[in-house]
Point group: C2
Amino acid sequence: MEGGERAVLARLMARLPVAPGGAGLVTGSDDLLAAERWAGDDAAAVSVGGEILLLTIDTAVAGVHGDLDVLSVADLGWRAVAGAISDVAAMGGEVQHLLVSVVGPPVTDLEALYDGVLGAATSHGAVVVGGDLSTGPQVVVTVAVTGRMPRRADGRLVRPVGRDGAGPGDVLLVSGPLGASGAGLRLLRARRCSLDAGAHDDRGDRAEAAAMEAHRRPLARLGQGAAAARAGASAMIDISDGLGIDLGRLADASDVGFRLEDLPVAPAATEDEAVGGGEDYELVMATSDPDALYRSFAEAGLAPPLRIGTCVADRAERTLHGRPLGAAGWEHPWH
Amino acid sequence: MEGGERAVLARLMARLPVAPGGAGLVTGSDDLLAAERWAGDDAAAVSVGGEILLLTIDTAVAGVHGDLDVLSVADLGWRAVAGAISDVAAMGGEVQHLLVSVVGPPVTDLEALYDGVLGAATSHGAVVVGGDLSTGPQVVVTVAVTGRMPRRADGRLVRPVGRDGAGPGDVLLVSGPLGASGAGLRLLRARRCSLDAGAHDDRGDRAEAAAMEAHRRPLARLGQGAAAARAGASAMIDISDGLGIDLGRLADASDVGFRLEDLPVAPAATEDEAVGGGEDYELVMATSDPDALYRSFAEAGLAPPLRIGTCVADRAERTLHGRPLGAAGWEHPWH
């Protein structure tokens, strides 16, 4: 089988039945059109009892999604939870319940792993309502998440934001500077090498410490996603594999191209890390009304989103500072 | 870490926050008391928009939960889905959505695996709404399931049935004869050996073929679970690890003992397989009103449940035909 795992997954998911009304709208039992979305977006959106329920599952494999030379199993547990919750953030939802399955060899420090899982759950306002535990050769943490769309003051449901709604001329913004997680991984590895060489443990400056923390203990941008959804963002995705890859997915789904003029780089990060480093979990948002987005972020007490460029009609045009932006992000091989 | 994986999981889950009102009742936003149950039962039950949502996650590891010498990867996918859905059946719920995460080495035949996943989903009336795919050294299939409690004709929600409601004097019944899956595994292994020895492929009689099918392609007892819940069963659990272990869990949670006088053994199965063989996914039900249970099964067009014994006040008494019933089921070691 050829292609990255997302391509394989897309092909497998294409065999699934389509949501009622396709990717379109079904009339909710409530006061608002509820958009049912199944496989193919960050999370599925289904209607249950007049609410829009968001459902997503995400797996972290030790050695693939986390380097246990520089991360603890507690970090791995945390990252699995944060990564799964980020898919709810990318739809604009509130997180509710987590189900956590752990596979690992009998020597695994499960107490530490659950410390990370529960720490991340608490930090995101989620609750673990169930789990499973199995023996296996490698640590695998799978997290399923339920979320729901918030309601406006007048009781109307906020619509989930898919990847596919961006149009030509829409402004593109990110919820914060990029590359911190990638920089953190580089710094953690460098520190590990210098520790191995017997060097003094110099944790570096505050920006470097923040980058390492961003890699070890990422936080999903739930507040920012909800603010974008309330402001009617046309499309949104979380940056889990890198801006190049994830913005490419949004553009593919929306059938647009993009022209980026700005790239906000996190302190301690390089421009390459900002484009290609994954696991930042910042959000990329498209909107035809950026002022509404700025207002919504301000009303929620959040730092303003950062404009990076615009969507264009030519889907072949994908540039940063006028040069082609390769999908220099990171994708697991699957062939 | 000592003890079976369920004991470890129980200890980890004991660290989780408790559902509002403990294992007790919270007033639903609807017309009925909604029982919120979190970790500790077959599935968590949470209230969403006036509905009771059931949530559960289950993982199948190749070589641990399925012997790939006698099962195909399609079988493994099917079994993972059926096993996860069975937890919804054991609460009396209807299954709705599945999220499926697959980890495996790049050589894994994903098309075949998804054939099994989708076949099982369709056979149980469930829909796969999302998934994830990762590389790893061993095939691991994790299935998260949402279900919901049905409503009665008058609109009232049926209450989810936990493990902990059985009382002394309650009658114990199973939804069908036991041991087919264990017998099927034995027969599949024997056939494999005779095929390896160059023998003619004699698939045996119909009972043996049915047992092998029960092992390869189990079906959750959704109809039976819902019928038991409608009839007000006091406690219920699915037999995933064997009658000895699973009835022991129901008795532990309900703080009762049991006295079994009958053991319905599936055709082609031995008595040991009926007691200790797991993965039958038949349900064990306790009720103070067995006539209501028989009526409910008949109204649903189901074969009547089979009485196996009664619950007793002395939780130390756990007997079959007057002899102690050991937990001769199967549990993964975790130490």
